[in-house]
Symmetry: C2
Subunit: 407 residues, 2 copies
C-alpha cells in the first residue's frame, strides 16, 4: 500500500513552488513557477528511473515499463498549473498521487503487465490562457496544435511563445501515446462528500460548461451633470446582467444552473466618469446539455434587454463549449470495486468542475476519483484536504490502476 | 471686444498637448502632459508681460497690474488638468478665456483699476488624486497643505512627489493673493442650455457631492462546483448595489439624485473563480444637502442589505463631502448684467459638476458662467463647444471682469 506521509511531503514541497502569502500556490500555466514545479516532478521521476517525454503542447508523459510493452499503457495524471491564488491540491494531488503510486511500485519492484504512464497536462486551469483543459483537448484532437499555440494571455503573450520559453516542448506526436485507460484523482472542489460524510466520490461524468467574453459599450459622460435617464452606463448594464442571471440561476430549484462572472474591467476608469466600456467573462454550467442551451438562451435574451434598457451595444463571444461528459463504465467499475474492496464509504457523482479527463475520455476509457475537501472550497488559497483523505484517494487510484494495468 | 479666432487657436493648440486618438486630451494632474500644458500657458502669458507666481500646491497666478495696485485683484481662472480620456474644453476654456481677456486688454492698452489675476488651479478633476478641486480647496483652507501633499494616486505616488517633479511648486503663501472677486467660465457639461436654446448660463451655485471608496469582501470559490446558494460573491454583491442605487435614483422624480460608480476592480480576477474582493468608487450628488443626506443613508442601508443577502463584508469610506454652494449675489449680478447688456439669451442655473469656484467661494465673492456643449457631453473625448459659443462666453467673462475690476 502507498505511503501517505511521503505523498504529503511531496504535496507540501510542490506547494512551496510559487507559494502565496495565505498558504496557496500561484503557478499560472507556462510561467517560470509552473515550469519549476514540472522540473521538480521530472527530477522526482528520474530518481525512480522514469524518463519524461513531451509533445508539441508541453504535455509531459512519464513511462514506467510493463512486462508487455507491446500493449498500450494504463495511465493516470492531472495538472500542476494553478489559479493565480490557487490551492495546493487542485490538479497537484492527481499528479503527485501518480508519483506516489509509481514510487510504491518501485519500492516493491512490482511490474505491471501493461506499461504505465503518469501524465501532466498543460494549462488545465484556463486562467492564463482560455479555455481550460487546453492541452488535454489538443491531445484528444478537440483543438488543433496551431490554434492552441496561437492562444494569447491578457498581455498578448501566446501559448506557443510561453511554451518555447519553458524548453518543455517535445517531439512526441500529438495523440501519442494512445492509452488503454486514464484515471484522474482530484479533490471534489465542492461540498457534497464532506456534507454526506463520505470518503470517496466515484465520478461518472462532468457537467457541461460554456465560456464567453462579453463587451458592453455605452458612453462616457460626467457623473455630476448627466441625468440618470440620459445615461448609457456600461457598468450599470453589466450590473443588471449579473443580478438578473444570478436570479435566473437561483430560480432553478434543482440547483444545477450555475453562472459566474470571474473578470470584469472598466476601460479607462475614473471616479467621476460614467463608464463607457466594460469587458467581462461569463461562465455558464449545467448537468444537462439541453438545460445549458436554455440557460445560454436566457443569457442572450438578458443581453437584448440591456440593449433595450441602457441603449448600450453588447458583443458576446462564445469561446468555449464543453458538453456534458459520461465516463467509461468499465473504468468507473474498476474504481468502484477498488473502493468497495477497502470498505470505503463512497458515492457515485458528477463533477461540477472541468478536468483533463473530460477530453481524454474522447480517446480512451476514462473515469475519475474524488476525495472531499474542507468546506468544499477550491480556487482559493485556503483549499485543504487532510493527509488521510489524500492517502485514501491515492490508494484507490493505485488499486484501480493496477486493475487496469493487469486486465 | 475679444478675438474669438485667437481664443480658438489657443484652445486647439492646448488640446495638442496630451492629445488622445479620438480627439480628446489626456493631461492627468501633475503628469508631464499637464506640466507641458502649464508651461505653454506660462510662455503665452510672458509674451504679454504677465509673470507667474505659484504656491505650495502648484496653483499658478498670473498678474496683470492695475492702476491701484494697493487694491486686491479681480480674478478669473479654472484648471488645465483633464480626465484620462478628457475633452478639450473642460477647465481649459476658463483658463484660455482668461488669457484671451488679458491679450485683449494688452492689445488695447487698457489698465483696470484693480490688478487682475488669471489663476490655474492644480488637480481639479480628482481623477488621479481624489478628491476633486484639491488645490483650490487648499487655497481656501478646506484642506491643509500637508494633507494635500500626502494624497496618493493609484500607483502610490504622492501629490507632493508629483508636484516636485513638475518644478512648479512656488513660495507664494497659501491663500495669497486674496481676491476681490473670482469668475470662472466653464462649459455646462450637461444638456440644459442646448435643449433650451440658450447661449449663457449664469451659475448661481453648485450641487452637493460625496465620494466614497468601497471594499466588498466575499470568498473565492470554484465557478463550477460552488452551489449558487453557497456563494459569497463580491462582484454579485457589487452588481446588486449598483442596480439598487440606480433604481433609487430613478425613483426621485425631480431627477436631482445622481449616483455613479466610476471605478470597479476585482482582486486577482480569473474566469472560473468567484470574485473574492471588489474595490469600487461611489459618487453621490444632489442639489439639496438634506436629500443628499437621505441618499447617503439609503446607500448605507443598501450596504446592510448586501451583508444580509450575500454574507459579504463591506467597508465604505467617505473621503469627500462637498456641500451645496450658493455663489455671491453681486458676482452673479455682474455676470447677469453683462449678459443682458449684450442681449444674450440666458438663464440662471445650478451646476451639477464641481468646480474650483466652489472652494474659492469660501474666501472671495465668486460666480460662474456656463456655455452650452454639444449633447451635454463631457468627461468624454467627444466634448465640443463651437468657436462662437466659446467666444461669447469669453466676452461675457471679459465684460463682467472689467466691471468687477473697476467697481
Ligand atoms: N478542476 C478545475 O478547477 N478545472 C478548471 C476548469 C473549470 O473551470 O472547471
Ligand atoms: N468640472 C468638472 O468636471 N469637475 C470635476 C469634479 C466633478 O466630478 O464634478
Amino acid at each position: 500500500s502507498i505511503d501517505g506521509q511521503r505523498l504529503w511531503s511531496s504535496l507540501m514541497a510542490m506547494a512551496e513552488i510559487g507559494a502565496t502569502p495565505n498558504g496557496g500556490s500561484n503557478r499560472l500555466a507556462l510561467t517560470p513557477e509552473d515550469t519549476a514545479g514540472r522540473q521538480q516532478l521530472i527530477e522526482w521521476c528520474a530518481d525512480i528511473g522514469c524518463r519524461v517525454r513531451s509533445d508539441a503542447v508541453g504535455n509531459l508523459f512519464f513511462r514506467r515499463p510493463g512486462s508487455r510493452d507491446d500493449l498500450t499503457p494504463a495511465a493516470v495524471g492531472s495538472h500542476l498549473d494553478t489559479q493565480p491564488k490557487g490551492g495546493r491540491f487542485d490538479g497537484v494531488l492527481g499528479v503527485l498521487a501518480g508519483l506516489e503510486v509509481f514510487r510504491t511500485l518501485h519500492d516493491h519492484q512490482i511490474v505491471t503487465e501493461r506499461p504505465l504512464e503518469l501524465i501532466v497536462w498543460t494549462n488545465e486551469e484556463g486562467s492564463r490562457f482560455a479555455p481550460a483543459m487546453m492541452a488535454s483537448g489538443t491531445y484528444a484532437g478537440v483543438f488543433t496544435v496551431e490554434e492552441t499555440l496561437a492562444r494569447q494571455d491578457e498581455q498578448g503573450v501566446s501559448f506557443g511563445q510561453a511554451l518555447d520559453e519553458t524548453g518543455m516542448k517535445g517531439s512526441l506526436p500529438i495523440g501519442e501515446p494512445r492509452l488503454a485507460s486514464f484515471l484522474e484523482l482530484h479533490i471534489e472542489q465542492g461540498p457534497v462528500l464532506e456534507e454526506e460524510g463520505l470518503d470517496i466520490g466515484v465520478v461518472t461524468g462532468v457537467q457541461g460548461m460554456r465560456w464567453f467574453d462579453l463587451t458592453i459599450e455605452g458612453n462616457a459622460a460626467h457623473a455630476g451633470t448627466t441625468p440618470m435617464a440620459y445615461r448609457h452606463d456600461a457598468l450599470a448594464a453589466a450590473a443588471r446582467l449579473i443580478d438578473r442571471l444570478y436570479a435566473i440561476a437561483a430560480t432553478d430549484t434543482s440547483g444545477d444552473s450555475k453562472v459566474t462572472f470571474g473578470c470584469l474591467e472598466i476601460d479607462t476608469p475614473s471616479r467621476n466618469v460614467i463608464p463607457a466600456q466594460v469587458t467581462m467573462t461569463v461562465d455558464l454550467r449545467h448537468v444537462h446539455d439541453d438545460q445549458l442551451d436554455a440557460l445560454e438562451t436566457r443569457f442572450y435574451s438578458e443581453l437584448e434587454a440591456l440593449v433595450e434598457t441602457f441603449a448600450v451595444k453588447v458583443t458576446p463571444q462564445r469561446l468555449w463549449n464543453s458538453p456534458v461528459v459520461a465516463f467509461n463504465e468499465q473504468c468507473i467499475a474498476s474504481i468502484e470495486q477498488a473502493t468497495r474492496a477497502r470498505g470505503i464509504a463512497y458515492r457515485r457523482m458528477l463533477s461540477g468542475a472541468g478536468h483533463d479527463a473530460v477530453y481524454v475520455a474522447r480517446v480512451a476509457p476514462t473515469a475519475m476519483i474524488f476525495i472531499p475537501c474542507r468546506d468544499g472550497i477550491s480556487h482559493n488559497e485556503a483549499e485543504y484536504s487532510t493527509p488521510e483523505q489524500c492517502a485514501l484517494g491515492t490508494q484507490v487510484l493505485c488499486d484501480a490502476l493496477l486493475h487496469n494495468a493487469n486486465d
